[in-house]
Amino acid sequence: MSFESFSSASLLAAFIVYNLAFLVFVLSILGKRWSRRDPSAHTRRWGWFAFLLAAAGFVCHLLFFFTRWYGSGHIPTSNMYEFMTFLAMMIMFAFIIVYLIYRIPVIGVFALPVAVIIIAYASVFPSEAQPLIPALQSYWLKIHVTTAAAGEAFFAVGFAGGLMHLLRTVEYKSDSRKAKREQQGVEFTLFVIVMIIAFVASTFLFHASGYEARFSTQITQTDKAGNEQTVDQTTDYVLPPIVKPHGSTIVSMKPFLGIDKPLFEAPAWMNGVNAGRKLNTVIWSVILGLVLYAVLRLVARRRLGEAIQPILNGMDPEDLDEISYRAIAIGYPVFTLGALIFAMIWASEAWGRFWGWDPKEVWALITWLFYAAYLHLRLSRGWQGKPSSWMSVIGFLVVMFTLIGVNLVIAGLHSYAGV
Amino acid sequence: MGRNRKWIQTAILLAIVIVGAVTLAGGLFKGNEPPKVGARAPDFSLSGLDGKTHRLSDFRGKLVILNFWGTFCPPCKAEMPDLEAAYRKWQGDDVVILGVNLNESHVTVSSFVDQLGITFPILLDSQDEIRKKYGVMNFPTTFFIGRDGVIAVKQEGQMEPGFIEQNIKNLLGKGQP
């Protein structure tokens, strides 16, 4: 068995074990009702078992990482697939640390799905270990990317803690304006998460089933010498095209649900290379998100936040608030070191300037400023509790945008990914 | 003790104000930006076709027409005779025309200049340094620099003789040193 196939198998094993651990964590909390034992003993026992599963999954994940490293000859953090799986690994690492400090199984219910979703999303990206272009050949790459991911992992745990706190403290029985706004906010956050899950699941399934569609657009390019050239640019779709790129022709398209032609064409002002495909992805995400959300609402027969809240009963809200804050406080120096300082060192070495206001660099700064504001706001009594939890949720969105949005939406020196 | 504190406070705030001024100044006055109309024409020194070194500041006090050109640029060639005519006419009135050639070989430039009978100084920007300094992207580009060293007019593209004449007259009329 080659290193590459062994590492893929390890990742698959980790993925499955993480899912099992998640289920056992849920069981440890919900199963209290049916257990013959004393509830807290039940939770402790099953919680510990779930934690061991999570740790075992983490070991498999580490195996994936190191065998891939050995097999390809360079640290596996150089493309979107590798980086995302690494981030998931770091999130598990942060989770393990926070769990060992606080020993609260509920954290597992929220932290494990984050890791699982990220691995699933990563699998959509091309996974081939690629040869590195000269700009990436430096050991500072390893140091910068791994440290930044470690910091972001703690922010992810902080996000999980913040979300838990909100779910615990939002009053679903109350009718006051404030309570209503909070309920809507929580529901919207859950909807966004549902949308992401729907997007990831659908992309994964379509990709796995081998779906593809291809379009070709004629682009006129002017090169540095001033010569104009018309080239054919092809765009590959993983999801069935509802929207095709503006001014393009179909090269090939597998039919979906009996439809073999795109329904619309992207508007003329969307003339970026991948604008049509991205619009299609967004449309799919929203549609599937709405569908999945509707299904979940029907099953739960009430708002999703209300349905999840019982899991958190019995948790001290101030403890949840503290978990969230503590995770961010641990992660902030790591993030500063990795995403800013090591990034500056690497940029200075590779491109001769430590800071160039590149969109990715600016968004790392934005993330840093956001969490700085968060930490300073915590000094003020009125800001602890719910406002702080909201900030930890939004902060993680900022982190995700920095990782995904900048790469895919905004161009710059940093865009190494291919999706 | 209280008064000491006040002095320290004042000193700190003063230091901050100075730093603030430097911050804003650094943003507003960038040395590397190409000069615009109304700005001082940056000084430079270049070798001429005659083999001697010429500086822009040598001509301070005179009206300088700085023309960036090349033999591969048809409009540049077309306006050359007009520039030469203007030079001969206004030379006595402290008007000088400097033709800055864009990185062509000595032979190419001298044969062209001889062919057309150009008498105003021709400078060779062999390192492409002055073109960059003046932010010249299109050819021909001409700067009319007043006696005070300030850029009065920047013209991109071929100039009509009337245009050259008008600007010379305007600039001689005003801006006494």
Binding site: P126, Q130, P131, P134, S138, K224, D316, E318, E322, R326, P333, T336, L337, L340, I341, M344, S348, W351, G352, R353, W357, V362, I366, L369, A373, H376, L379, S380, V406, A411, G412 | R5, I12, L13, I16, V19, G20, V22, T23, L24, A25, G26, G27, G31, S45, L46, S47, F72, P74, L102, S105, H106, V107, T108, S111, Q127, D128, E129, K132, M137
Partner: protein, 555 residues
């Protein structure tokens, strides 16, 4: 100065604005309340809280406010987001900003440009924001760190009961008989040794005790701020003339160029590029038929000009030599040249044709013609060739006259005047190094009689020098860089100090057999409660961490 009654009942005179007595900790206001005490800065008076502000004080107070600092951070954050919406001007090499945004992005692009957002990070208001953050850093820190240092330096062991019972972690219980002084003191000693084992520095005073650890962690945020201030000042220092330069230059192989605004000249001696071989790439990459560079390098030589600088023939002295690769720049006393990019730009550098007698076959000699700046006269055997005209990119204008279409040697043409045996009066001779031009413009016909006699041509490719590549280097000077790293390092140290340790203090006193304990930390109350409960447990008192905390909202 306004007189205020700030003398505590313990006899200590406090500054106006002090919240908790500097000596015994008794709350000076709100002394009959039951809410947990405001322990920030240990209750010491801060500069900005004193009464009767002058205009100087007002400015000081403005910048020492954390609220203002947070606003500044958030505004900077928002501005930065705007600066990423469209590509910034500093990424353009040849585009004109005044038209680019409108053309590419329409109306929103035009608005973006007009608002100055196309150079957000370079704008005066963004710099002003950073400056204000820097000011806030200075003043916030000074305002707080000095009083805090004073307060933490002189701490009392025996605290006022009101102080202890209103700490966020507190415990009141009976531990001994009221009259039994010895067992009370003994218990205090036991507690002291338990706390010492947990790395506390303990001071006792009979039946009172003060334990403290990791005080250094309090200085963390201030050290972080100092680091950031140094960082910002270093970034600002780059606008000092001579401290910062950043430009891109393309060097054709063999070419030496002057670096503007410096006495340096740099030569690209040779450029090499290695591509990944098909075997080294994965299947998918091979399918895409891409050419991926593995490594490219410029063999560069740096010269310094000693005299006649800026002229056509300066005197140069070699000072450095280095193979420049992407992460491996040339570095000479702070002058840096980084490998940025390259392009395949085949270009004629020079030709070395031989002058030959067409009829006898005799070769008279060869001359080297530089395409960039050819000499004016050459000697080939008995013949003298004077170069009259040179057209790098030969063409005929609308009048049918020779001209050059550009200044690049794409189709070079030389017009000589040849004098020598058989032609005492100089004869014109047109020479095209490239065969295709020679045929197109019918060189032999044009040269007439001379063309029948003499032939100037290159025998083989050996006589032709071509440069294959242009190497793009990024030339930089950045004197402020060491200070940038220093500031960043200091900032990191401060962050680590502040976040990975917490300052914990435990005070207790036993009066009449009753224990009164209070504890405080700046972060991580969870850990403090656990530790105090564990310590109490070791000293014989059962306490649950949860019950130690006052002021908690109930479940």
């Amino acid at each position: 100065m306004r007189i205020e009654n700030t003398k505590c009942e313990c006899g200590h005179q406090n500054y106006a604005g002090t919240v908790l007595c500097e000596s015994c900790g008794k709350p000076l206001y709100d002394d009959h309340g039951s809410e947990p005490l405001e322990m920030r800065y240990d209750g010491v008076a801060r500069r900005s809280q004193r009464g009767n502000p002058t205009w100087l004080d007002r400015i000081w107070n403005f910048f020492s406010s954390v609220k203002i600092a947070i606003y500044l951070i958030l505004i900077t954050l928002a501005a930065s987001v705007l600066g990423t919406v469209y590509p910034q001007e500093n990424t353009f090499i040849n585009l004109d900003p005044s038209t680019y945004y409108k053309q590419t992005y329409g109306t929103t692009g035009e608005i973006y440009y007009l608002l100055g957002l196309s150079h957000t990070f370079d704008s005066w208001w963004y710099r002003l924001l950073l400056f204000m953050i820097g000011t806030s850093l200075v003043i916030c820190s000074l305002d707080r760190v000095l009083p805090l240092y004073r307060a933490l330096n002189k701490q009392q062991i025996r605290k006022h009961p009101g102080f202890l019972s209103r700490q966020k972690v507190t415990l009141t219980c009976d531990i001994a008989e009221p009259g039994d002084q010895t067992s009370q003191e003994q218990w205090v000693q036991t507690m002291a040794s338990v706390l010492r084992k947990r790395h506390y520095r303990v001071h006792t005073d009979g039946t009172a005790l003060m334990a403290e650890k990791y005080r250094f962690s309090r200085w963390g945020p201030y050290i972080n701020h100092i680091g950031l201030i140094i960082f910002l000042l270093a970034a600002l220092a780059r606008s000092i003339p001579g401290w910062h330069m950043d430009q891109y230059m393309g060097f054709i192989e063999g070419q030496t160029l002057k670096i503007p605004n410096t006495p340096y000249y740099l030569k690209n001696e040779k450029f090499t590029v290695d591509f990944y071989k098909p075997e080294e790439m994965s299947d998918k990459f091979r399918q895409r038929d891409l050419i991926v560079p593995k490594m490219y390098e410029t063999q560069a030589v740096l010269y310094q000009c000693t005299s006649r600088c800026g002229t056509a023939d300066p005197v140069l002295k070699e000072v450095a030599r280095h193979p420049i690769r992407v992460n491996d720049p040339l570095n000479y006393h702070g002058f840096m040249a980084y490998q940025f990019d390259y392009k395949e730009t085949p270009r004629l550098i020079s030709v070395t044709p031989s002058l030959r007698n067409k009829q006898t076959g005799e070769v008279y000699g060869s001359i080297e013609l530089d395409m960039n700046n050819p000499q004016k006269s050459y000697q080939a055997g008995p013949y003298r060739l004077e170069l009259k005209s040179y057209f790098p990119d030969f063409g005929l204008d609308e009048h049918g006259q020779p001209m050059t279409k550009s200044n690049e040697p794409k189709a070079p043409a030389f017009i000589f005047t040849i004098t020598g045996p058989g032609m005492e009066k100089g004869q014109p001779y047109l020479y095209f190094p490239r065969m295709i031009d020679k045929d197109t413009y019918r060189q032999d016909d044009v040269n007439g009689a001379v063309g029948q006699l003499l032939d100037l041509s290159v025998g083989s490719m050996e006589g032709v020098k071509i440069a294959q590549y242009t190497s793009y280097l990024n030339i930089r000077v950045d004197k402020a860089l060491p200070y940038i790293w220093f500031g960043a390092a200091v900032s990191m140290i401060g962050l680590v100090m502040g976040f990975y340790w917490q300052h914990r203090r435990v005070w207790l006193r036993v009066d009449d057999g009753k224990l009164l304990l209070g504890a405080h930390t700046n972060k991580n109350w969870f850990g403090l409660r656990k530790e105090v409960a564990a310590a109490l447990g070791k000293a014989g008192i059962e306490a649950d961490p949860k019950t130690l905390e006052t002021g908690r909202k109930t479940l």
